[in-house]
Symmetry: C2
Subunit: 335 residues, 2 copies
DNA sequence: CTGAAAGCGCTTACAG
DNA sequence: CTGAAAGCGCTTACAG
């Protein structure tokens, strides 16, 4: 019940309250003798500095707000864990906000976040209004969009090379000799969904090939499964590029339920390379988003902006890589 | 850059700073006229109360610390999302700490957590020392262990009926006529791993059956896969009870790689019923932990203790349910 | 209902 | 190096 304060420690150690504070402030000046007395008293009393009080006066909460939506998609728990570990190592912690998918929802959540005086905000897989951007800027809080870009360049963002990824997948499927290539796209309300689709269709067009079909899978399992059932009805595609792995699993399930064999009867390629993609049950060929490097870049960016106080928007795009597995026919010479 | 404070709003509205505070404090008294003036000024200035300052004086941060470890196991992201949503709805937010698996690691993380003056702590899938328990109690911070029990009853905890679950699985496999039943157990350093195993072996023993083998899978994919390969070498078990779904997926993968068919050549039963278990690629028979009810109970418990200030340890155990799918032979009369 | 004032637990110039 | 004092942005008795 008893909160031990620096004054309590000061009294017991026979020094001033300021002295106690200095001993617990890295870089502050305190004699070895004072430090020893203070530490002893602190230990005896079980004293630990109140981070909130420190945050109030220093203006630094050492809290990073994280807005996250699709936790069913394994990409995000993985990112969350990496982010949290790396931040913890640097003395920061994550205050988590699960956001509804709408811009208004995100805005209200972001507002909440700012009320906590977070030092920075990482928004994973969400978009937000420019009003909010203005507020964050006014408050001097750096914001980084993770795995999502934004029109107008008001926010910093870290993504993989989505357009290139889409292109590579198209080249891969073309090289394998596929001619009836469908695309179950990522949500077209998101930059990732649009960019991957754009790169993909671009290459197809250049090759003079019309896509067999292009539909919005909404980054949703059920939608993707329904789309697949429809595609399988009648004349079938011989390949499907799916906007992310999470949907691709549903596509593979549906294909198998139709009695077809992925990689033989029909090639399937995903996007992300979440851990599950490598498990034998799916063995999914997919374009890897280098999540480790995306997380590092995000952390460097946001901590850098917190340290320097400079918050100009940066755009970072990290190269991905096609990972060849069993769900798609492999063209000669690819590996 | 400019932080707008209640004093700024007061100046613009022509009232005292206390009046501004009251307008933003639910339940405090302020005339409609004052409230209107204040709200107008606040909106114009973009004022929002500083949650940290409020926390300092009220002693309530409205932050719940969450300690979590195994985010690869889908059970935890799901729990995290449910927890976060429910808490957000009640005006609380989650400060997240990813913990190493050791007791010391957890202790240091918990200490960090308490420095943030969290109102309560939820520890998912981790154990911690009784020293820490003492500290939390001294600080008046309620702690709830989620999906883990603790010796000595110092902490509150919410689990499913793990012993019963183990028993039910054993009865199920026995009823299906299996006689060479192996157990790849959950980590024996955890209460869940031990309890499930105990219930399971208990029923087998009462039926006069020796388990075909019992090994510790450590809640780890690779370990579980290695154990499975070993079990498949030579005379095989005809059924395997796996300590959680996360391991069971590796077991199913391994069985298939050996050219065997789960549910026909060998029955596999997991524990948890994570979303992936229902996907056709795995179609895993498993004992469901009712995660929604576990989350509700956890939140009721911790918010209740925060409100009342009473923090006696409570132990809550929630009934689970066996979910029948294709990975295990179904005995007559079961459904 | 409302304002002046104290105080939450710290950090940080300012003198010494 | 060290202490006294101001101040971070609020809430909350206390008078009126």
């Amino acid at each position: 019940m008893s909160k031990v304060t620096s004054a309590d420690v000061a009294a017991r150690a026979g020094v001033s309250q300021s002295a106690v504070s200095r001993v617990f402030t890295p870089g502050a000046s305190a004699s070895a003798k004072t430090a020893a007395k203070v530490r002893k008293a602190a230990t005896e009393l079980g004293y630990r500095p109140n981070v909130l009080a420190r945050a109030m006066v220093s203006g630094k909460s050492r809290i990073i707000g994280l807005v996250v939506a699709y936790l069913e998609n394994q990409f995000y728990p993985v990112a969350l864990e990496l982010l949290s570990n790396a931040l913890q190592k640097r003395g920061y912690h994550i205050l988590i906000f699960t956001a509804p998918n709408s811009t208004e929802g995100v805005d209200s959540v972001m507002q909440d976040l700012m009320d906590y005086q977070v030092d920075g905000i990482i928004a994973a897989s969400v978009s937000m209004s420019s009003t909010l951007a203005e507020r964050a800027r006014a408050a001097g809080i750096p914001v980084v969009l993770f795995n999502r870009a934004q029109e107008g360049g008001v926010f910093s963002n870290v993504t993989s090379a989505n357009v290139t990824g889409g292109r590579v997948v198209a080249e891969f499927l073309l090289a394998a000799g596929h001619t009836r290539i469908a695309h179950i796209a990522g949500w077209q309300g998101s930059s990732t969904g649009r960019d991957r689709q754009r790169g993909f269709l671009d290459v197809l067009a250049k090759a003079g090939l019309h896509p067999f079909a292009t539909v919005d899978g909404m980054y949703n399992r059920e939608t993707a499964a329904a789309c697949t059932r429809q595609l399988l009805d009648g004349e079938r595609p011989d390949a499907i590029f799916v906007g992310n792995d999470h949907m691709a699993f549903a596509v593979l399930d549906t294909i198998r339920q139709a009695g077809l064999v992925p990689g033989k009867d029909i090639s399937v390629v995903g996007f992300d390379d979440v851990p599950l993609s490598a498990w034998p049950a799916y063995d999914l060929t997919t374009y890897r988003q280098p999540i480790n490097r995306m997380v590092e870049a995000t952390i460097d960016l946001i901590l850098g902006q917190i340290d320097t106080g400079e918050a100009r928007p940066h755009t970072i795009e990290i190269d991905g890589k096609l990972i060849l597995r069993g769900s798609a026919r492999i063209p000669e010479g690819w590996h």
